[in-house]
């Protein structure tokens, strides 16, 4: 198999090449490559400390990388701040959602970018809110309740809908299903598929192998801050991904077995 060869930069809406990030003596990210095309869901998986969160923060503009280039629509860009990333068209949904529980759904959707700052246009904002939520086929019965009254899945929906307000091209989801029950997880996975249908590039950080295999087109594995393989989600087994995550395959026996069994899980081990 494999692993899809690194695509041409023109094909991808967002590409990382050789990204490095150092915190003191710790190399959090080393030589990371990642490509996301429009209408594609790329899952980034890895163990604790593999560098997933750091990668999200690099993409969302919180951290600037020490080395490497970020290409957005084929052009090299600098993501100096979250606002810069957002303005460029990279939206981030953080793991803790960052919603104000005391405000209602439409206030949360438009927080910080309300229409008509000196005489809020509630009607237009409510209309837009419904349009957004309809696009996502979201199941939220009324916009008048404070977010505190919504379920976990509904909150995730609100957070994702909010990230879509600026018409982004790439959306980063940090652990979107981590705190959700079975039904709510399914709702969010539906939502991610709808984002893909709408032509967005989706980067999804996840721990949950089932969810990853359910929606991702490709799975990028990080291990100890390095690329440890990119797999096509359609024909890779969970075991192979887990092996890449844990490095279980990274020993003499496994390498020998791998050579014998023809390239089943070709690796991009540096």
């Amino acid at each position: 198999m494999t692993a899809s060869a690194p695509r041409a930069a023109t094909d991808a809406v967002l590409s990382l090449r050789g990204i490095c990030k150092q915190f003191g003596a710790v190399a959090a990210l080393t030589d990371i490559d990642l490509d996301v095309a429009a209408g594609e869901v790329v899952a980034v998986v890895g163990d604790n400390g593999a560098g997933k969160s750091t990668l999200v923060k690099v993409l969302s503009g919180v951290y600037t990388p020490d080395a490497g280039t970020i290409l957005f629509r084929g052009e090299e860009v600098r993501l100096d701040s979250p606002a810069a990333a957002h303005d460029m068209g990279i939206a981030t949904v953080y793991q803790d959602l960052a919603l104000c529980e005391n405000l209602d759904v439409k206030a949360n959707l438009f927080l910080g970018q309300e229409l008509r700052p000196w005489m809020l246009d509630d009607v237009a904002m409510e209309k837009d809110s419904w349009r957004l939520l309809r696009e996502l086929s979201a199941k939220i019965p009324t916009l008048d309740v404070p977010v505190a009254a919504l379920s976990g899945g509904q909150r995730q929906t609100v957070a994702i809908a909010r990230s879509l307000l600026g018409n982004p091209e790439v959306i980063l989801l940090d652990e979107p299903t981590a705190a959700l029950g079975v039904a709510q997880t399914a709702e969010v996975l539906d939502l991610i598929e709808r984002l893909r249908e709408n032509g967005l590039g989706v980067v999804m950080i996840s721990h949950n192998m089932e969810d990853v295999r359910a929606v991702a087109d490709r799975v990028a594995v990080l291990r100890l801050g390095r690329n440890n393989g990119v797999f096509d989600a359609a024909d890779v087994s969970s075991e192979d991904v887990v092996a890449a995550i844990t490095g279980a395959a990274d020993n003499v026996v496994a390498r020998r077995a791998a050579r014998r069994a023809a390239p089943r899980t070709e690796k991009e081990v540096p």
Partner: protein
């Protein structure tokens, strides 16, 4: 009216079959009753509290609800109410200001010193006092944002420091009297809205309520959104008109509606608009609800904190000026004693959460009405401040306990 009543395509928002949209006046009343049962009490407890307090005091002393006493009440509640309005702003942002009493005292002293000792015009005195109040708020904001000192501590320091400043300004004088013929004193003692104008204002207020509601309803219909029925809006407007007309009529039986009270209501409406209908007001609620979320949404959180402190101290300074004008003097005890805690209690009794993000400008109006009614009633009964402190304390406890119970109920019924 027909333009609103004609059925159009079903509104976008109540399409979800799980949602029951209220129909007609009866439906709206039932929906409101259900909200209250679920713990979404809104203004109900404080209104009920006012009714109970007024009934008790009227039973104990027949003059309590007399027109004369209510006119006095409408004067006396204003300075404290203006201060409580500032407290609402700072509580909404999730902070606290314990120094409003001292700030109002220092502002009263400043006004008197500029006006009387330095013989400057009144307007200048007021401007200097309010500007120093705003400066104090700005300093609080800087101390909070830059040095991370909790607002509790910053303003506790301010409480002492500005009490000292007040004493220093008065420098040994027990009080500086403000001349009785100055506009400042007349404003707080003898200036009333002419009878015809007061009725006109009442009609204009109810008419404005109707017009705003009507325009909103029309826009929502046009946008294909659900809007509550015309009958309900008309019923609300008529009720408001009746209440306002009766209040104006009753006050006009003696001295009438004071300009000072009109100023207070105008301030409440102004703050209400700012909090509820501007991006800035929305950001105060957001910061009070979840500061980190607000920051990630691109809101300049430190600036919001500073603005809240400035609004609070500025309004406290204005309240201090009104204390001085009501008393026709600034003395060493202006703004001391229970002013601080009464202002905070008024905001909380009115339904502002101590934990940020919940409440409205009307909380100050209704809360201060409760506090001032208790104070006025006990004065009429010739009971001294020892009783007033104890009773106000008990009312505050009841209000906060009720709020906590209502919050649990809201959680249980999915109303946040």
């Amino acid at each position: 009216m027909t333009s609103l009543d004609t059925p159009v395509a079903p509104a976008t928002d109540p399409q979800d079959e799980r949602l029951a949209a209220p129909q007609g006046i009866g439906g709206n009343i039932r929906a409101a009753a259900r909200r209250v049962r679920d713990g979404d009490l809104g203004m109900l407890p404080v209104v009920a509290g006012i009714v109970v307090i007024w009934t008790i005091f009227q039973a104990l002393n027949q003059t309590f609800l007399s027109s004369t006493n209510l006119v006095n009440l409408s004067f006396d509640m204003v300075p404290l109410g203006v201060i409580a309005l500032g407290i609402v702003c700072v509580l909404l942002a999730g902070q606290i200001d314990l120094s409003v009493g001292s700030v109002s005292g220092v502002s009263a002293a400043t006004t008197a010193v500029v006006m009387v000792r330095y013989e400057q015009p009144m307007v200048l005195a007021i401007l200097v006092a309010v500007a120093s109040g705003c400066l104090i708020g700005w300093i609080y904001g800087q101390a909070f944002n830059r040095f991370g000192v909790p607002s509790f501590v910053v303003t506790l320091g301010g409480l002492l420091a500005f009490l000292g400043a007040q004493l220093w300004l008065l420098r040994g004088q027990n009080a500086i009297n403000i001349p009785y013929d100055s506009a400042l004193v007349k404003f707080a003692q003898v200036w009333f809205v002419p009878g015809w104008l007061s009725y006109l204002l009442a009609v204009a207020a109810a008419g404005g309520f109707l017009a705003v509601g009507w325009a909103r309803s029309l826009r929502r219909r046009r946008a294909g959104l659900f809007s509550s029925s015309v009958q309900w809006l008309l019923a609300q407007s008529l009720l408001l008109l009746a209440v306002l007309l009766f209040a104006v009529y009753y006050l006009n039986r003696t001295r009438g509606v004071s300009w000072m009270f009109v100023l207070f209501v105008a301030l409440v409406l102004g703050v209400h608009y700012t909090l509820g209908h501007t991006r800035f007001g929305r950001s105060i609620y957001a910061v009070g609800g979840n500061a980190e979320a607000a920051r990630r949404a691109g809101i300049d959180v430190p600036r919001v904190y500073t603005s809240a402190f400035v609004m609070c101290s500025g309004l406290a300074a204005l309240g201090g000026i009104l204390f001085a004008s009501r008393l026709a003097a600034a003395n060493q005890s202006t703004g001391t004693a229970d002013v601080n805690l009464n202002a905070i209690a008024a905001a909380v009794i009115g339904g502002t959460s101590l934990f940020g993000g919940r409440g409205s400008a009307f909380a100050a109006l209704l809360g201060v009405l409760v506090i001032q009614s208790i104070s006025s009633g006990l004065t009429l009964l010739n009971l001294d401040s020892s009783y007033r402190f104890m009773i106000t304390g008990a009312v505050l406890l009841v209000a906060v306990a009720l709020d906590s119970a209502a919050r649990r109920s809201r959680r249980a019924h999915g109303r946040g």
